[in-house]
C-alpha cells in the first residue's frame, strides 16, 4: 500500500466521525521505484492532506518531508517534488495495520493489501 492510498483511506466504521487519518502500524515497509512524473505530482498535491502524509512517511522511516504544509510555489522545486514523489508513491506498507483514530480498531494490511471489511456490528 502506497501512502497515496493511505491518504485516501478513512475508517469506515458506523458512527465514527473522525476516521482520518488512519494511524499506521508498521511490521514491514518496503520501497518500490516508480517513474518520476512532475505533472502527476502537481495535480495530486492539492488533494493531499499534508499532515497525514508527513506523519505517515515518518512512521515509515522517511524523515525528509518539510514539517509545514508547503505552498504551491514549492511545486517548482525539483528537490521538493522528488521527496514528495518518494513519500507518496515509493514507500509501501507491506505488513502491518491501519488503526482507526477514534475507536482503535485495527484494519490489517497483509502483502500490501489493506482489509477494510467490517464486522456485522460495525456496518
Amino acid at each position: 500500500m502506497r501512502l497515496l492510498t493511505h491518504n485516501m483511506l478513512s475508517s469506515n466504521i458506523k458512527g465514527v466521525t473522525n476516521g482520518f487519518p488512519l494511524r499506521i502500524e508498521v511490521e514491514k515497509a518496503i520501497e518500490k521505484q516508480v517513474d518520476f512524473n512532475p505533472d502527476f505530482l502537481k495535480n495530486m498535491f492539492p488533494k493531499i492532506d499534508w499532515k497525514a502524509l508527513l506523519d505517515a512517511s515518518r512512521t515509515m522511516g522517511y524523515a525528509e518531508l518539510p514539517d509545514e504544509t508547503p505552498d504551491s510555489s514549492m511545486l517548482d522545486s525539483d528537490e521538493f517534488l522528488r521527496k514528495f514523489h518518494h513519500a507518496l508513491l515509493e514507500l509501501h506498507l507491506e505488513e502491518g495495520a491501519l488503526v482507526c483514530p477514534e475507536t482503535g480498531r485495527k484494519f490489517p494490511v497483509n502483502k500490501g493489501i489493506p482489509n477494510m471489511l467490517l464486522h456485522e456490528d460495525e456496518v
Binding site: M1, L9, G19, M44, F107, P114, N115
Partner: protein, 273 residues
C-alpha cells in the same frame, strides 16, 4: 453459437504494439475467484474500442470495483501503459481471495495497482470523492434471491439479487460520488438489469450514456455502457428537480424526451464520447 453484434475489430489497427491486454495464461486463479469470462472480455473489448478516447482523456486515477482475477484492471493498465505512464490504479473487491489473485495477476504482467479488500469503495468515499477519472465495473449482475447477495465465496461474484440490480444500485451513487468532473464509468449490464432504466437514473444525476459494446452469448445479452458527465444534462437534471415537485405534467414531458434521446443514442447518433 456465439454471435457478436455491433462490434468490429477494425479499431485494432494493423501494427500497434501497445494494444496489449492481460494474457489468460498469466492470469492467476483460485477456486473462489471469478475467472475471466465473456463479460470480462466484453468489458476489456469496450476499453480497447474506446482506447483512443481514453488516451486523450489522460486519466490520473483509474479504479475498478470488483476486480476478481484482475484481468480487467491489468488489461487497462497495459493498454494505457505507453501513453499514460503516470496513471495510478486502484482496485477493490469484497472477496479477500480476489484481491490476492489480482495482486498476482498484476505482478505477472509487470504492472501496478493499489488493492483494497473492501465493500465497493468503503473507506475511500470521503477522501477519494471527485478524484476518479475512469471507473470500470463488471458487477455481480445475475438475478438471484436477495439473500444470496454478498455471501462469502464465489457466489458473491455473480449474485445480483432482484433483477440482478442489488449491487449495481449500490455502486451507482458511489461511482457518482467518486468520479471527477470529467470522470467516465464503464459498466457491464445484462438486459435483465434493465440498462435503459439505469441510464435514465444516471441521467438524473447528469450523465450521458453510450453503449460501447453489445454482445449476445448463448446465456446472456451483455451491454457495456459508458457514462460521462454532460454539462447540458446536468443543467437539465438541476432544472427538472423543482419541476418534478410542482408539476406532474412536466415530469412526463421530461421522461418522454429522455426516452426519446435514449433511443437516439442507442441508435448510435451520439458519438462524441
Amino acid at each position: 453459437m456465439r454471435e457478436m453484434i455491433h462490434f468490429s475489430f477494425s479499431f485494432l489497427g494493423s501494427n500497434n504494439m501497445s494494444l496489449r491486454t492481460a494474457q489468460i495464461r498469466l492470469v492467476s486463479s483460485h477456486p473462489e475467484v471469478y475467472e475471466p469470462c465473456d463479460d470480462s472480455f466484453a468489458l476489456v473489448d469496450a476499453l480497447l474500442a474506446d482506447r483512443i478516447n481514453l488516451l486523450e482523456h489522460r486519466p490520473m486515477l483509474c479504479m475498478e470495483v470488483g476486480c476478481g482475477s484482475g484481468y480487467v484492471i491489468t488489461s487497462l493498465a497495459l493498454m494505457l501503459e505507453q501513453e499514460v505512464p503516470w496513471a495510478h490504479y486502484i482496485a477493490t473487491d469484497i472477496n479477500p481471495r480476489a484481491v490476492e489473485v489480482t495482486r498476482k495477476t498484476l505482478e505477472a504482467h509487470g504492472v501496478c495497482a493499489e488493492l483494497i479488500n473492501t465493500d465497493i469503495a468503503s473507506g475511500l468515499e470521503k477522501r477519494l470523492a471527485g478524484l476518479v477519472d475512469v471507473m470500470v465495473v463488471n458487477p455481480p449482475y445475475v438475478p438471484t434471491p436477495e439473500d444470496e447477495v454478498g455471501r462469502e465465496g464465489i457466489a458473491s461474484a455473480w449474485a445480483g439479487g432482484e433483477n440482478g440490480r442489488s449491487v449495481i444500485d449500490k455502486i451507482l451513487p458511489i461511482a457518482d460520488k467518486l468520479l471527477s468532473k470529467t470522470g467516465w464509468l464503464y459498466l457491464v449490464t445484462l438486459t435483465t438489469n434493465d440498462p435503459s432504466q439505469i441510464c435514465l437514473q444516471m441521467r438524473e444525476k447528469g450523465y450521458a450514456a453510450r453503449i460501447v459494446v453489445q454482445r449476445s452469448t448463448e446465456e446472456e445479452n451483455l451491454h457495456i455502457i459508458k457514462f460521462w458527465r454532460d454539462f447540458d444534462i446536468q443543467m437539465e437534471a438541476k432544472e427538472t428537480v423543482p419541476v418534478n415537485k410542482t408539476a406532474p405534467v412536466g415530469v412526463m414531458d421530461t421522461l418522454l424526451s429522455q426516452v426519446h434521446r435514449l433511443s437516439l443514442w442507442i441508435s448510435g447518433n451520439n458519438s462524441s464520447n
